[in-house]
């Protein structure tokens, strides 16, 4: 079983490399990290005194947009593309279970996301050390937390991309669905929550529903967990006020559960695909 997953992962990684997905993802992360490190480091929180923590705080709002986007872009073609090329039917006549095929792809694509995330954050961290000297070492725990939560966030959205890929059957449709999903979960979700909070004006929604609504979305959970843990104030999001009142285990649970949930969803969607 592991050899088949590894074989699939190796092939998929080779494809990602040739398709320039690795280069593009890494370049995107590095570029945005550099911009943040040099231009966006201004809004420092009260507790975050060392330059690396400041950088991490800005990286959080970057990652919330970029990591899901990269994950969806890499993953949307996974099943739909093979189905269209006709290789899906072929692969499924091999002693290769659908779970193994999906896991192999996930492993390879998660490697790409991890490489991109690590490269991007490393550049930002180097910049922080360059400006702040050894003091920046205080921010290393926050940076490490950002890395592994980003990888988990990436895993969740990779599997969501696979689910889109299974449901639409055509690569073009899958791409549209993936972008739609990104818009809804990353952009519109927060806007809708904000609008609801404003309209509710301190009512039951704000006190009872809103904290849960924030935690349920993996991207928001990621943001809240990292912000709360690093003690920084997120200048980019109007949702940070509520974040401080939420117990840290809730967003953490969401971050850990989502990859499993999304992978299950992808697997169930894959079952419905007839090659």
């Amino acid at each position: 079983m592991f050899s088949r997953i590894l074989a699939t992962a190796a092939l998929e990684f080779a494809i990602a490399r040739r398709n320039r997905w690795v280069v593009v993802s890494v370049a995107m992360m590095i570029l945005f990290s550099l911009v943040l490190a040099f231009a966006g480091a201004a809004p420092a929180g009260q507790l975050a005194v060392d330059p690396l923590s400041v950088t991490v705080a800005s990286l959080i709002s970057l990652a919330v947009y970029l990591v899901p986007l990269i994950a969806l872009l890499i993953s949307f073609d996974a099943i739909a593309g093979e189905s269209e090329r006709g290789t899906l039917a072929l692969s499924l006549t091999y002693p290769l279970a659908r779970t193994e095929l999906l896991l192999g792809k996930l492993v390879a694509q998660l490697a790409v996301v991890t490489i991109a995330v690590v490269a991007g954050y490393a550049v930002a961290a180097v910049a922080a050390f360059a400006t702040g000297g050894v003091e920046a070492a205080d921010g290393l725990p926050a940076l490490w937390r950002l890395v592994w939560t980003s990888v988990l966030l990436g895993a969740a959205f990779l599997s969501l991309g696979h689910a889109m890929s299974c449901l639409s059957r055509r690569p073009s449709g899958a791409a549209a669905m993936a972008i739609g999903l990104w818009l809804v979960m990353i952009v519109l979700y927060d806007l809708a929550l904000l609008a609801a909070v404003v309209a509710d004006d301190g009512g039951a929604f704000t006190t009872d529903v809103f904290p849960w609504a924030l935690v349920v979305n993996p991207a928001d959970a990621f943001r809240i967990f990292n912000l709360a843990a690093s003690g920084a104030v997120d200048a980019a999001s109007g949702l940070s006020g509520a974040a401080s009142s939420i117990a840290a285990w809730k967003p953490l649970a969401a971050i850990v559960i989502w990859p499993v949930l999304a992978a299950t969803l992808a697997r169930l969607s894959f079952q419905r695909v007839t090659p």
Binding site: G86, T93, Y94
Partner: protein, 296 residues
């Protein structure tokens, strides 16, 4: 020993019946060709055998196992019609992948590529391959691990005539080792003497099955006789063959297979008036269109 058993296999899509109670057995070492017009149900039948889709009726057994089961999959090789491998990877990488899935040593990849004539292109990306070369990658993967059953959907499409011959030579080798082969094709003439049995589907129904000789004698297709009279002798020849069509330089008519000798005797009797003659048996294409028309 029977490797593949289909009994009363039925498949419907929506309201249309795509396969209608098709029954077929293939023994080890037997090569069976599946023929039929576009949309006759050949690919559908193969996908059912592979367990990629599920039947609405009837039964399939692959060496006693359910189609698509782990055992059946480990025994079966498949070549999909129009399989297009990812353009970014090389032929060798693609084969190594399939070898690893079957738990075979990856060093066989070069041997397999050699077998299908792709040794020189092994390290090139499949995106740079020609259509026939891509088809050969598909063939190479179907040869992995001495399968008991090979299901090949239009395996020779896109191959040049020499490669086709090489392909059938490969099949002969495999069949000699006991592999059962089910293949579909539109190129009837190339199947002659290359397969043990033919199954003809039309609109999902099995309309004929048997060796080529069986099908020929069942259909009893007429032969075409052409006689070229000597100069100025045409009227005499035409008189002797009143059933014939008369042309300027020849007369032609058809005769049933069992009248062949009688016709020959009549021709010999006219020896003095005849310059030459031709006797044409029905071609495979004639036979095929006759059978499909008979059903329609």
């Amino acid at each position: 020993m029977t490797i593949l058993t289909l009994s009363k296999l039925t498949k419907r899509y929506g309201g249309t019946t795509v396969l209608d109670e098709v029954s077929l057995d293939i023994a080890a070492g037997e090569r069976v060709a599946l023929l039929g017009h576009n949309g006759a149900g050949k690919s559908t039948l193969m996908k059912l055998v592979l367990g990629l889709i599920h039947a609405d009726g009837g039964r399939i057994e692959v060496a006693g196992h359910a189609p698509g089961s782990a055992v059946a999959r480990s025994l079966t090789a498949y070549l999909a019609e129009n399989a297009a491998f990812h353009p970014a990877i090389t032929g060798r990488e693609q084969l190594c992948y399939y070898l690893r899935l079957r738990g075979q040593p990856v060093k066989q990849a070069d041997e397999l590529l050699e077998k299908v004539g792709l040794a020189d292109a092994a390290t090139r990306r499949i995106g740079t391959y020609s259509k026939g070369m891509r088809q050969r990658v598909g063939l190479a993967q179907a040869l992995i691990g001495n399968p008991r059953l090979m299901v090949l959907d239009e395996p020779t499409s896109g191959l040049d005539p020499v490669s086709r011959r090489e392909f059938y030579a490969l099949l002969d080798e495999l069949a000699a080792k006991g592999t059962a082969v089910l293949l579909s094709s539109h190129a009837l003439s190339e199947l002659e003497a290359r397969t043990d049995r033919m199954v003809i589907l039309a609109k999902g129904k099995q309309v004929a099955q048997g060796t080529l000789a069986d099908l020929r004698s069942d259909a009893a297709l007429p032969l075409t006789v052409t006689i070229f009279p000597k100069a100025e002798q045409a009227p005499q020849v035409a008189e002797a063959f009143p059933e014939a069509q008369i042309f300027e330089d020849r007369v032609t008519f058809t005769c049933a297979p069992d009248e062949k000798l009688a016709v020959l005797e009549r021709i010999v009797a006219l020896r003095g008036h005849i310059a030459d003659y031709d006797l044409h048996a029905a071609t495979l294409d004639d036979l095929y269109s006759h059978i499909s028309r008979r059903v329609a």
